[in-house]
Amino acid sequence: MPDPSFVFAQSVSGLTAAMFLFLIASGLSLIFGVLRVLNFAHGTFYMLGAYCAYQFMVWLEPGPGKFWLAALAAGLVVAALGGLVERLLFRHLYGKEELYQLLFTYALVLILSDAAKMIWGTQQKSVSRPPELTGAFSVFGAIIPDYNLLILVLGPAIALTVWYVLQRTRVGRFIRAAALDRETLGALGVNVNALYTWVFVMASFLGGLGGALISPMRATVPGMDTEVIVEAFVVVVIGGLGSFWGTFLGALIYGQVLSFGILFFPRFSIFAVFALMAAVLIVRPWGLLGRPLK
C-alpha cells in the first residue's frame, strides 16, 4: 500500500484535473443539452482561450490582477467568437442531419486551429502564474501549489454559478425549456434563436475561460484542442450528455481514474478512461445522471 500522503497528493491532483475538465466539459454539455449538437470545436475554443490569455498577458501593462484581467478578456473574446460562429453559420444546420452538424464543428476545428497556428506559430507558449499565487503549502505531507488550490475552489464556484443561472433565473428557465421543447417555447413568444446564440456564447465563454486558466499550468501548443475534446467527451458521456451535475460527477470520476490509474497501471490509465466511457455507453447510454432521450 502506498503511503497515505502520496495517495492524498494523487487524489488532489486528480481533483485539480477534474475541475479543469469540468470547466471545458460543462460548456460542451450545455450546448448538447440545449442544441442537441456535439461541438467538436469546443476543444478549439478552449485552446484559443489559452492563446488569448497569453496574448493579453503580453499586451497588458503589468499591474495588480493582470492575469485575472487577461483570463477574463480571453474568455470574452472566445465567447464573442462563439456567438459569431453560431449566428453566421451554425444556426443554418439545426434542422439538418447529425452528420452535417458534427462535420461542421469538425471543420471549425480545422479552420480555427490552423488560424491559431498562423497567428501564434508552432512554438509552445507559456503564461506565468499570477504573482500572488506562486507559493505552495503542505497538507498531510503533500505539497499543493496555491494556484491548484484556487482552481479547486474556482471549479465548484463556477459550477454553482452556472447552476444558479440555469435553475433560478428567467434566462435559465428559458434555456431549460428550450432543451425540452423548442417549438412550444417559441410559440409562447420567446425568441429561441437569440436564446440559442446566448447558450453558445455562454458555453464558449466557459471553454475559453478554462483554457485561459490552464495556461499557467500546461504549455499552450497546437494539437491540445483535439486532445482535450476527447477527454471532455469522456466526461460528458460518463456523467450524462446534457446533464449539468452529471458533467461535474463525470469530471470527478475521470480525474480520479486517471490519477490513480497512473499509480497502479501506469501504462493503461488512458485506456481505462476510454474503457469506462465505453462501459457507461453500453450500460447506461444516457450517462450516470442523465435522462434517456425521447
Binding site: L99, Y100, L102, L103, A107, L108, R267, I270, M277
Partner: protein, 324 residues
C-alpha cells in the same frame, strides 16, 4: 436499352498505366488514392447505405495496418496470409464492438464508436512491446516480388521497381474489394440496408432483424477498412498509432462526404479529389487544414450531396432539360 459504360473497369485500366506514363511520384499518389478509396468506400457502406454515422472507423483501419505490419515484420509471415488476416482481425473486432454499438442510436452510436476507436488507439499508443508504442513500427517489408524476376524480360510485365509492383498489387486487390463491396451493396442484403437507413421501423415491420443487419454491415465495413489498413501500412513503410486516432476517422468521413455518400463510387472520387487537392495546395501553403476546413464548410452548405451529387445534378440539367 443502352449498355452503360464500364467506368470502373476503364479507370482501373487507366490506373495500370500510371507507372508507365507518369513519374514515380504519380505512382505514389495513385497508390495512396487507391487505398483511401477502399477505406472511404468501406465507410460508405455504413454511413451512406445503412445510415449509421461511425466516428471511429479509423480503429479498423489501424487494426488492419498493425495486423499486417506485425505479421510481416515480426513473424515474417508472407503477404498472402498477412493481408487477409488484416481483414479477419479487423472484422472480428468490428463484430465485438459493433455488437454493442448497434444497440445505440444516433449520437450515442457515434460516441460509442469513437470510444472504441480511442481504446484501440490507446492500446496501440501504449503497448510498447508489441506495437512499438508512440514511435510506431517503421520498416514494414514489402511483399516478396522476387518470383516476378523471371518475367524481367517481358515488356510491361517485368522490370519494375518494388514500389511499382506493390502499386499493381494494390490496384488488383482494391479492385477486387470494391467489386465485392459493389456486389454487396447491390444485393438484396444491401437493399435492405438502405431500407433500414430510410425507415428502420418499417424494416422491422416487414420482419427484418434490424440490429443483425446493422451488425453485419458494421462487420463488413470494418473488415474492408482493415484490408485497406493492411495495404496502407506497407505503402506507408510503417504503422503508427495515429492511424487509429479520431482525427483519422473524421478525415475519411470528409472524403466520403466530399465524394457523395449516396453513390457507390462517390467516396472513391472523394479520396481522389482530396488527395490531389492536398498535393496541389500543400505546394503553395502549409495551412492545408485551413483549406480543408473551408472546403468542408462550403460542401456542407452548398453541395451536401458531394461531388457526385453535384455532377448528377449538372448531368440531369444538361441531358434531361426540364419540360416546359
Amino acid at each position: 436499352m443502352t449498355k452503360r459504360m464500364p467506368w470502373g473497369l476503364l479507370v482501373l485500366l487507366a490506373a495500370f498505366f500510371v507507372p508507365a506514363a507518369g513519374s514515380r511520384f504519380y505512382t505514389f499518389l495513385a497508390n495512396d488514392v487507391a487505398i483511401w478509396a477502399l477505406f472511404a468506400t468501406s465507410l460508405n457502406l455504413l454511413v451512406g447505405y445503412t445510415g449509421l454515422v461511425s466516428f471511429g472507423h479509423a480503429a479498423y483501419f489501424g487494426l488492419g495496418a498493425y495486423t499486417t505490419g506485425l505479421l510481416m515484420k515480426k513473424l515474417a509471415v508472407p503477404f498472402v496470409l498477412a493481408f487477409p488476416a488484416a481483414g479477419l482481425l479487423a472484422g472480428a473486432f468490428a463484430l465485438v464492438f459493433g455488437f454493442f454499438c448497434v444497440r445505440l442510436t444516433r449520437i450515442y452510436f457515434a460516441m460509442l464508436t469513437l470510444a472504441f476507436a480511442q481504446i484501440v488507439w490507446a492500446i496501440c499508443f501504449k503497448w510498447n512491446e508489441v506495437t512499438g508504442g508512440e514511435q510506431g513500427m517503421p520498416e514494414i517489408p514489402y511483399p516478396d516480388f522476387g518470383w516476378l524476376d523471371r518475367f524481367a524480360s517481358v515488356p510491361l510485365v517485368g522490370g519494375w521497381r518494388t514500389a511499382e509492383y506493390f502499386y499493381f498489387l494494390t490496384l488488383i486487390l482494391v479492385a477486387l474489394c470494391l467489386w465485392a463491396l459493389r456486389r454487396i451493396a447491390g444485393s438484396p442484403f444491401g437493399r435492405l440496408l438502405t431500407t433500414i437507413r430510410e425507415n428502420a421501423e418499417r424494416a422491422e415491420f416487414i420482419g427484418v432483424n434490424v440490429r443483425r443487419y446493422e451488425l453485419a454491415a458494421f462487420v463488413l465495413a470494418g473488415a474492408f477498412a482493415g484490408l485497406a489498413g493492411g495495404l496502407f501500412g506497407i505503402f506507408n513503410r510503417g504503422v503508427f498509432p495515429d492511424f487509429a486516432y479520431w482525427t483519422k476517422s473524421s478525415e475519411v468521413l470528409i472524403m466520403t462526404l466530399l465524394g457523395g455518400m449516396g453513390t457507390f463510387y462517390g467516396p472513391a472520387i472523394g479520396a481522389l479529389a482530396l488527395i490531389l487537392l492536398n498535393q496541389q495546395i500543400t505546394a503553395y501553403t502549409e495551412y492545408w487544414p485551413f483549406v480543408l476546413g473551408s472546403i468542408l464548410v462550403i460542401l456542407l452548405f452548398v453541395f451536401p450531396g458531394g461531388l457526385a451529387g453535384a455532377a448528377q445534378l449538372i448531368a440531369q440539367r444538361v441531358w434531361r432539360p426540364r419540360r416546359a
